[in-house]
């Protein structure tokens, strides 16, 4: 590295990041300051003064970038990673090597152009802000890879077998372009399109928009045709955006098993490599939102100890893909095929009835309120719409009732619930920290309880909804026998 600044009292030296960042920082700063820069430019043009102001507008970001480079340094000493940054407000971030849970290598297009990458260390603390993240931005790609290997091996939780085969293994999973068909069925495409349409609307609004006079507006076709065409156009647009989004995010997706860790790689423009410490993978979740499920697909993510729900992006094991692929990868990651295949024990008639009363009952009350409101407002026959609401809830209730189930299979607690966003969690029994049994008066009356396994990863808990109490207690007892047995009646 350039200009290492040796510390007298410590043999391990503070070092700067790669000097090529001097090129990256100004570009990033200029994009960040794009709006004020344009304003400065326009103001400069208007006042006729010109050059000096515009120059200042470019020099300022460059100076900021230089400052950032000069004031940031890191070292690995005494079993800790330390990152020092800031000019006026000095920050020293420090974390023990054995707390490293994940290592992320992210490279934006400009980083890739220069052969650099950003190394992010995930330690499992709930970071409160951008300043608390341990980012080494950036390092030469080869050096970052070597450092990642060192960091993951230094964590004592990973016991690497010295005789293990260190040659790269074939990936467990690589992206199949046929999976693109699932992209339009995810909600992300719709969200992005809505955002784009909203932004476009803002621009139109700001520029005066298109004046439409509904009396003279005539497209030469009936109104219904226009509406139908509009719907088709939106569907095509959403699908296109979804497919593009899927490609950009998951281009060259691959999941590989390295010594003691899982490596995930993906991204078209910005590449991202995530390494998950193998011993921290507490389980996997199969998410099957309704759209994907109807097409026979789903998504797989890992429950990683120390990674909260906020860092969920780091734990996607399989992007939207066919069910068989999810189940196969789940088997490989868990080290056993049975949990993902295990037949689930249903929760009985009382639990199913509860799904029905909760879905249809709620919709019925809402629908009735809507009907009354419409009638009071003089809407007349439109009140019938309110009665349609419970009808819509019927298939949801039936599906929710059918989804309920749990199992204890080969050392994993398996739980499934939900309809529109159905999920099946597989959690290692050793990662169950405790059990919560929650029951309202209604649930107690019919002998049900919601059983919650608490854990240190992902969403922090796995809920088994509305289990008959004896089954719940038996399951808790089977997973933590030395703990639960003493409290049995």
């Amino acid at each position: 590295m350039s200009e290492p600044a040796p510390q007298i009292d410590d043999l391990t030296e503070w070092q700067r990041l790669d000097p090529r960042m001097l090129l990256v920082h100004p570009v990033k700063e200029i994009t960040r300051f794009l709006v004020p820069l344009v304003a400065v430019f326009v103001a400069g043009q208007a006042s006729g003064g010109g050059a000096p102001w515009e120059l200042l507008g470019v020099l300022f970001p460059v100076a900021l970038g230089l400052m950032r480079y000069l004031t940031t340094s890191f070292r690995i000493a005494g079993g800790r990673v330390e990152l020092r940054r800031g000019l006026l407000d000095r920050h020293v971030l420090s974390t023990p090597l054995d707390r490293v849970r994940t290592v992320d290598l992210t490279a934006s297009p400009i980083h890739r152009l220069l052969g650099l990458t950003t190394l992010r260390i995930g330690t499992g603390t709930i970071a409160t802000g951008e300043d608390d993240e341990l980012d080494l931005d950036g390092l030469p790609t080869e050096r970052a890879r070597a450092l990642r290997a060192d960091l993951l091996h230094a964590a004592p939780a990973t016991e690497v077998d010295p005789d293990a085969d260190l040659t790269p293994q074939p990936p467990v999973l690589t992206l199949d372009l046929a999976w693109l068909r699932y992209a339009p069925l995810t909600s992300s495409g719709a969200v992005v399109t809505a955002g784009l349409l909203g932004a476009a609307g803002q621009v139109f609004g700001a520029t005066g928009g298109i004046e439409v006079d509904s009396r003279t507006w005539d497209l030469g076709m009936p109104g219904w045709t226009v509406v139908a065409l509009g719907v088709v156009a939106i569907v095509v647009l959403v699908s296109a955006v979804s497919v593009l989004g899927y490609l950009v995010t998951n281009w060259e997706f691959s999941l590989t098993r390295g010594p003691g860790a899982w490596h995930l790689r993906r991204g078209l423009f910005t590449t991202r490599e995530t390494s998950l410490d193998e011993s921290r993978v507490a389980g996997v979740t199969v998410a099957e939102p309704l759209g994907l499920r109807l097409a026979g697909g789903g998504r797989l993510s890992a429950i990683v100890t120390g990674l909260g729900a906020g860092q969920a992006g780091s734990s996607v094991l399989v992007p939207p893909a066919p069910r068989e692929v999810l189940v196969r990868v789940a088997g490989v990651v868990l080290g056993t095929d049975s949990p993902a295949h295990a037949p689930l024990t249903g929760h009985g008639p009382a639990a199913r009835r509860r799904r029905w009363t909760r879905a249809v009952g709620t919709a019925g009350v809402l629908g009735a309120a809507l009907a009354v409101a419409v009638l009071l407002a003089g809407g007349g026959w439109w009140a019938v719409l309110g009665l349609g609401l419970p009808l819509l809830a019927v298939p949801v209730a039936a599906d929710r009732a059918r989804s309920l189930g749990h199992a204890l299979s080969d050392g994993y607690v398996v739980a499934r619930s939900g309809s529109l966003a159905r999920r099946r969690d597989h959690l290692d029994v050793d990662d169950v920290i405790g059990w919560n049994l929650r029951a309202t008066w209604f649930q107690r009356r019919v002998g049900l309880t919601s059983l919650v396994a608490t854990t240190a990863g992902g969403r922090q808990s796995v809920t088994i909804l509305d289990v008959p109490e004896p089954q719940a207690v038996a399951l808790a007892d089977a997973t933590l026998p030395h703990v639960v047995r003493q409290f049995l009646a």
């Binding site: 909260g308 920290i433 059990w435 929650r438 029951a439 008066w441 608490t454 003493q486 409290f487």
Partner: protein
């Protein structure tokens, strides 16, 4: 502590309640704080209704309000007192809280990360304290409210000693 041999191996196991109750003074504390809460809420609702003149205050509205406060003060704290229980053994902490929704939480001693002792200003008036036991899961904290202050202190010392005796980082 019930030994396994004593347990009848029935096919329908049930959890028993934790052994210890919280301090009876907790009931009085909950009654008084619920009374204050209830009266303030009803007063705010009444004042808002009078100021904005949205609805005509009728006798039955006032009756419902007073009835709700009466139940909140007369029934809920007693119910909660009957539900709130806790137990600490060599290997685990077991709590039961709530009233309408009852929640039982069991955490192994080996997974305990921190033991918190807190006295809110109101609790201090009654010589009570709250002990919170946290684990590595954000969903797994066990809270025992309304403990006698001295008893709570003892409990904290006991839990700290026992949790310390276990190796590992409790995740």
């Amino acid at each position: 502590m019930a030994r396994f041999e004593d347990v009848d191996p029935t096919p329908t196991p049930t959890l028993r309640e934790p052994g210890q109750r919280v301090s009876p003074r907790a009931r009085l504390m909950w009654q008084i704080s619920n009374l204050v809460e209830g009266v303030v809420s009803v007063a705010i609702l009444g004042a808002a209704a009078a100021v904005w003149d949205a609805v005509d205050l009728t006798w039955w509205m006032a009756t419902i309000g007073l009835l709700a406060v009466a139940v909140y003060v007369g029934v809920v704290p007693q119910w909660r007192y009957l539900v709130h229980r806790w137990e600490v053994t060599e290997t685990a902490v077991y709590t039961q809280t709530g009233w309408w929704a009852r929640e039982r939480r069991i955490a192994p001693m080996s997974r305990i990360q921190t033991v918190d002792y807190a006295e809110s200003p109101v609790a201090r008036l009654f010589g009570l304290a709250t002990v919170t036991v946290t684990t590595a899961s954000a969903a797994g904290a066990l809270q025992i409210a309304g403990l006698d202050r001295l008893r709570a202190r003892e409990l904290v010392d006991e839990l700290t000693l026992r949790a310390d005796a276990v190796e590992g980082d409790a995740t």
